[in-house]
Each structure stands twice: as C-alpha cells, then as structure tokens.
C-alpha cells in the first residue's frame, strides 16, 4: 500500500513537472498575416491566410480535410481502420484527439494542446459553445444545408459546397475541384444506372452490424444512406436509433424480411462473415445460400458508414456494382478505386491490396 502510494506520488510529481516544462516551451507564434472569411453558417471570422494545422470536431470533417489537404491535419478524430491502414505512415501516426460525435465528448484542452490554427465544426447547434471554449482559435462552420448538421438527409449528395469551401480555406483549390469532379462523375454514374429501376426490381438488403449481426439500421438512417442512393432497398423497418445507431433485431425477423443481399457493417467483420456463412440458421437465408454476403470496405476509412462521410464517394461505385452487376458491366471498378486511393487517400494501392479490399475473406 505504502509503496503504491509512493509510486503514485512520484508519478504525480513527474506529471506536474512535465506539465510545467511543457508549459514553459510556449511562445506566441502568429504569422501576422490574417484574412477575414465568412464560414458556412454565415459567421465572419479572422483566420490565418496560410492555415497549417487543422483539427475537426468530428470524423466527417476530418475525412473531408484528409481527402483535400491531409498535410494540414494536426490530429485525428479516430485511428484509421485496417492493420496496417492504407495511408502513408506520416498520417497514420498523427495523434488521436477525439471529438464530439457518437456518444463521445471531446476534451477542449486536448484540442488546444495540439495547437490548431483553426477548428472545423460540422453542426451549427454546437458552434457557439465551441467558439466560447476555444476562445481565440477560430471555429469554422463547414456544413451549410437545411439542417446544418452532417447527419442531414442531403448530406451524401451535398458535399460539393463543403469541399469547395475547404479547398479555398486551406489553399487546396485544385485538389478540391479534382474531388468534386470525381464525386459528380460517381453520382451521375449511379443515377444513370439506378434511375430507371422500378421499385419492385430493386435489390433488398439487410445491413448486419454488431458482434452477432443482429444489430441494424433502418431505411432513412444516415448509416444506410449509401444503400438507398445506389438503388438498394433496406429491409429493416426497425426504430431508428441516434448516434451510432444499431437497433436490435432477431434472426427470426431477418428470415421474415428475407433479403436478397447482406452487407456486413461495423463490428468484427471477418468473424461475423464466418458466422453468417457457417451458422446453420443463417445459412438457410436466401442471401447466404446464394453467396450474396459482402463486407463493407473499411480501410483506411469506411466506404459505407462509420462514419457516413465523404469516403462514401468511392463507395458509390462499389455499392452500385455490388447491387446491380448486370447493369454495370461497363464499370471498371478497380480503376475507379485505385484512382480514388491515389488521388484522395494519398496511397498507391498494390493489386494485392486492391483485391483484399474488394474480396470477402475466404
């Protein structure tokens, strides 16, 4: 007991000393050149002309910055998926600062200690609190839209303004326009494929989440927006749950819905895939017996959901191809994925890595 106390107090003293040493290292570094901008909520702000360090209050804004100007990120909302993640080492080694999303509350001091030039906030309702706590660090609102939240209904198809705004703010206009071009092409392509499919012919899908695959998100949920956009019908009519979603359902209910296809979402995906393919009850489902079970690609950032962010742009090609392979024979999915990874994830995929992303585990 005494030793432990001693160790604890030594540790505390160490902590205080480190904290004070680190505190002494502060100096006022202001570039001197600033400019006044109007953010996407119409607030006037003074920001540095050259912004070098950006933090985001949530993962969707983080994804946007990563796609457009990754070198500006001073920290991550969460660690990249995958082991190893398909991103350059300099980005996967960035510190994780957390944020305000899902069920999580960020720590203001963690953010300030990372010395950001600006902080991006995607939900209008939160911005006055953020600005008050961040004091002199400009908090820039980046989601216009009707609801001014990243979870609004039009979010999947409405990223263009944000991409353009951030491109201008971060001095990466060219990259932003490049992303918008890819984004528009993807949306046009999906539109062309699915617009004339009658509702009765649409592929029905169950989105399996959680450890046992018995959690899901219904139609209308932000988590299954990509599915709806790509012309799939979500079979789950469960109560929509906020935040991370994941409403409970049962195998009996899934059997009753009898989906054409199952997509495996959040959770230990490979294990769940094995369970679904080998479990005697799951095996009786039409989707399983016909082999229509897919894992959503997640590395380095999810194409589908978790978070439902701008990386769904590459997911559009994947999803529409998954649902309607016969209608998308003209699509070179592999080339589209490779292009997205090299241009926007800043990582050149090897053929092996590409195959790993697109294939299910054996």
């Amino acid at each position: 007991m005494k030793n432990r106390l001693k160790a604890l107090s030594l540790w505390l003293i160490g902590l205080v000393l480190t904290a004070s040493l680190a505190g002494c290292g502060q100096d006022t570094s202001s570039s001197g050149t600033t400019r006044v901008i109007t953010d996407m909520y119409g607030r006037e702000l003074t920001v540095p002309t050259t912004i070098n360090r950006v933090l985001t209050s949530g993962p969707i804004e983080m994804e946007l910055v990563y796609l457009i100007a990754p070198e500006k990120l001073a920290g991550l909302s969460f660690t990249f998926n995958g082991n190893p993640p398909l991103v350059p080492e300099e980005y996967s080694s960035l510190p994780v600062v957390g944020g305000w999303f899902g069920t999580q509350t960020g720590n203001y001091e963690t953010f300030i200690a990372a010395e950001p030039d600006i902080i991006l906030e995607g939900t209008q309702a939160n911005i006055s609190e953020r600005q008050e706590k961040f004091g002199s660090i400009p908090v820039v609102g980046v989601r216009a839209g009707e609801e001014s939240t990243n979870y609004a209904d039009d979010a999947l198809t409405g990223y263009e303004d944000e991409i353009r705004f951030l491109g201008d703010l971060l001095g990466a206009k060219k990259q932003a326009e490049k992303l918008i071009k890819y984004y528009d092409d993807a949306m046009d392509y999906v539109d062309e494929v699915v617009s004339d499919i009658p509702d009765a012919d649409k592929v029905t899908v169950y989105y399996a989440e959680g450890k046992n695959g018995l959690s899901t998100d219904p139609a209308g949920s932000m988590h299954t927006r990509l599915l709806a956009f790509c012309g799939g019908t979500n079979v789950a009519n469960v109560t929509l749950k906020p935040g991370y979603g994941m409403a409970e359902t049962s195998l009996e209910q899934i059997a009753l819905w009898d989906p054409d296809m199952i997509i495996i979402g959040r959770g230990s995906q490979t294990a769940l895939y094995q369970t679904i393919m080998n479990d005697s009850i799951w095996k009786q489902l039409r989707a399983v017996s016909s082999g229509q079970v897919s894992i959503r690609p997640d590395n380095p950032l999810s194409w589908f959901d978790g978070p439902p962010g701008p990386c769904q742009i590459v997911g559009m090609y994947w999803m529409v191809n998954k649902l309607y392979p016969d209608r998308t024979t003209d699509l070179d999915l592999e080339a589209k994925v490779k292009e997205f990874y090299s241009s926007f994830f800043h990582y050149d995929l090897s053929d092996e890595e590409l195959a790993g992303l697109l294939a299910n585990p054996g």
């Binding site: 205080v16 480190t18 904290a19 004070s20 040493l21 680190a22 505190g23 002494c24 502060q26 100096d27 006022t28 510190p95 994780v96 600062v97 957390g98 944020g99 069920t103 999580q104 509350t105 960020g106 720590n107 203001y108 001091e109 963690t110 300030i112 200690a113 309702a125 609190e129 008050e132 706590k133 961040f134 004091g135 002199s136 660090i137 609801e147 939240t149 979870y151 609004a152 932000m222 109560t239 929509l240 749950k241 906020p242 935040g243």
Partner: protein, 352 residues
C-alpha cells in the same frame, strides 16, 4: 430551543479525534481551498502553475500581458467554469442528500427520492421536443423538477398516516410516472437530432458549462444552501421522531416543507447544469457522518465541503485521464464505491 446532541449514536466519529480543538469543517475548508487552487493547474493543456497564477492575478490587478492569449482561454473559459460548477454541484448534491437523509431518517435516501431528476429530464426533453433554445431547456428542466417534487408532496399530504413514509412512497410513484413520461418523449422524439440532444442532456457533463449557466443556477443553489445551513440544528429534533419533535415545539410539517423546497431548488439547479450525477448525494453524507457523527449541526457543513471537494477531484480526473472526456457519472461510481467500502471497513463500529 435546546441543541440536541446525538453523539452517543452508533455512527461514532472515526477521525479527527486526536486533532484537539480543530474542527473538521475548518480542516475541510482549507483542503477545499487548496484543491480549488490546484485544480487550475490540472488539465490536458500544459500550463505551468506560475502561468496559472499570472493569468488569474491579471484579472484582479493590472499586469503586462506577457503570455499567449490561449492561456487566458484555457484558464478562464475552460477551467474556471468547470471548477466552480464541480464545487457547486458537489456541494449542492451532498447537502441535499444529507438533508433528505435527516428528514426521512433513512440513510438510503438520495436527493432525487422525490422525483427531481426525472422531473428535470422530462422538462428538458419537452423543451427539446418543442425546439426550445438553451435557456428554455434549462428553465423547463427546472420547472419539471419542481413540478415532480410538488406533486409528490401534495400527493403525500392526501395520504393519512406516517408523513415520512407517505412522502417516500409518493416520491417513488411520481418518479415512476415522470420516468415513463420521459421515455414517451424519447420515443416520439426525432431520432436524428432531438433524441441525441435528449440523451446528451440526460447524460450530463460539466464540460459544456459556461459562466452564464453557472450564474443562473447559482442563485437558487446558494439561496437553498444558505437556508438549509441556517436551520440545520432543527434536523436533530426531526431525527428524534415525529412525536418527540412536536413535543419539543417544532412545527414538523412546516420544517419538512422548507427542507423539501430548499433541497429541491438546489438539486434541480445542479441537474440543470450537469445532468444526473449519481452517488454523490447518497455517499458523501455517510462519509460526513463517519468524520463528525450524526449531529446535523456539524454534519451539514461537513457534507457540503466534502461534496464540493469530492466532485472537484473527480472532475479533475475526468479532465485529464483521457484525451476525450470521461462522463463524470461513471467516475463518481468507480471511484466512490470502492472508497465507500474502504471507509465502511475502517469504521470502528458496525454499520448495519
């Protein structure tokens, strides 16, 4: 009025015996003052204690502003409101808990026994559903809390028999009712933006507290605290039992009403700024009894100081332990429960 000492009770004081004439309250006040100052130096953002002192001092005396502006933000916008809120909420919940435990003569009573938390939750949820702004939400939460306790009180008045027992039973029933209404609100809320707002509000956090909220909440809080402290000796009379108290000339009905109003006002304000924080109002009064015995004359101030210090330390841990916020309700239980068991073991006399 005679001051009744209950020191021969089985809850014997276990500490401060060898401390001569120094009262526990004075010691605790000094400890609290030290914690208050130390808490400013605690946080994820590294600031040296000297800088903290300089930033704080610059508000009371003219000084050259030689430090980065961000230090002002951290100290005055982030740390100061939280430190004050943690102390106020901790003090309020503990004092309300000690008062209710004395009033009901029951050590298992917590401040939300009459439905104050669920009433506040229901009020807040209603305002969120009606798309009220933050002021409307706080006001509605406060009104809901008062309504729940008011109904409990009125219902208990209609019941014949032991007033204490009927108050507890009425409180349980009204809590259940408001709990159900709150569930209904959550059920009909829009799951995309209203439900998360309700959940977030119920979870409670000191992270978002600002000086404006604090100022509003502190008016009923400080008022209730002062009244409870002023009438604290009467609790001893109450704890002797209904008939004895009446025989001693105490109007127990009126006293009960005053205690309920004051405790509700301070608990409701605490819930409004921090959400429901469990364990503080239940446990801290017990710790207080272990220190100074069950005499309310000393127990109430000691509980108040202990509660303030306890929640301040817990919130300091919430602020530094991880790079994201740890919900404070989780830590009050994780730290509080083992500590409580430890104290039970140390207690010289049996507990049950």
């Amino acid at each position: 009025m005679a001051k009744v000492s209950l020191r021969q009770n089985r809850f014997g004081p276990i500490r401060f015996r060898g401390m001569g004439g120094v009262s526990a309250a004075v010691v605790l006040a000094v400890v609290l003052a030290a914690l208050f100052i130390l808490s400013f130096a605690v946080g994820r953002y590294p600031i040296s204690p000297i800088d903290v002192v300089r930033v704080l001092a610059s508000h009371v005396m003219p000084m050259d502003h030689t430090w980065p502006e961000i230090l002002d933000t951290v100290v005055t916008q982030i740390r100061l409101p939280r430190i004050l809120a943690a102390m106020l909420v901790g003090a309020s919940l503990s004092l309300a808990g000690a008062s209710f435990q004395g009033l009901f003569r029951n050590p298992l009573v917590s401040p939300d026994i009459l439905g104050v938390s669920l009433g506040a939750g229901f009020g807040a949820a209603s305002a969120i559903l009606l798309s009220g702004n933050i002021v409307a939400i706080q006001a509605s939460a406060f009104a809901g809390a008062i309504a729940a306790v008011g109904i409990s009180y009125v219902v208990s008045k209609m019941v014949k028999g032991n007033p204490t027992l009927s108050l507890i039973l009425a409180g349980m029933a009204i809590s259940a009712l408001f709990g159900a209404l709150l569930s209904l609100m959550k059920y009909v809320a829009d799951p995309v933006d209203q439900l998360p707002a309700i959940t977030y509000w119920l979870m409670g956090s000191l992270a978002a507290v600002n000086m404006r909220d604090l100022l509003f909440a502190s008016i009923p809080m400080v008022g209730g605290i002062v009244v409870l402290l002023l009438i604290r000796w009467r609790f001893n009379v109450l704890s002797m039992g209904e008939e004895e108290a009446i025989a001693l000339g105490v109007d127990t009905g009126r006293l009960r009403a005053i205690v309920i109003v004051c405790s509700t006002a301070i608990t409701a304000s605490a819930v409004c700024i921090s959400g429901t924080i469990g364990w503080v109002g239940l446990v801290i009064p017990h710790v207080g009894r272990m220190l100074v015995g069950p005499n309310h004359q000393r127990l109430l101030p000691v509980s108040l100081l202990l509660g303030a210090a306890y929640l301040l330390v817990i919130d300091d841990i919430c602020r530094v332990a991880a790079s994201i916020e740890i919900p404070i309700g989780i830590l009050t239980a994780i730290v509080g429960a083992p500590f409580f068991v430890y104290l039970l073991n140390r207690s010289e006399k049996g507990w049950a």
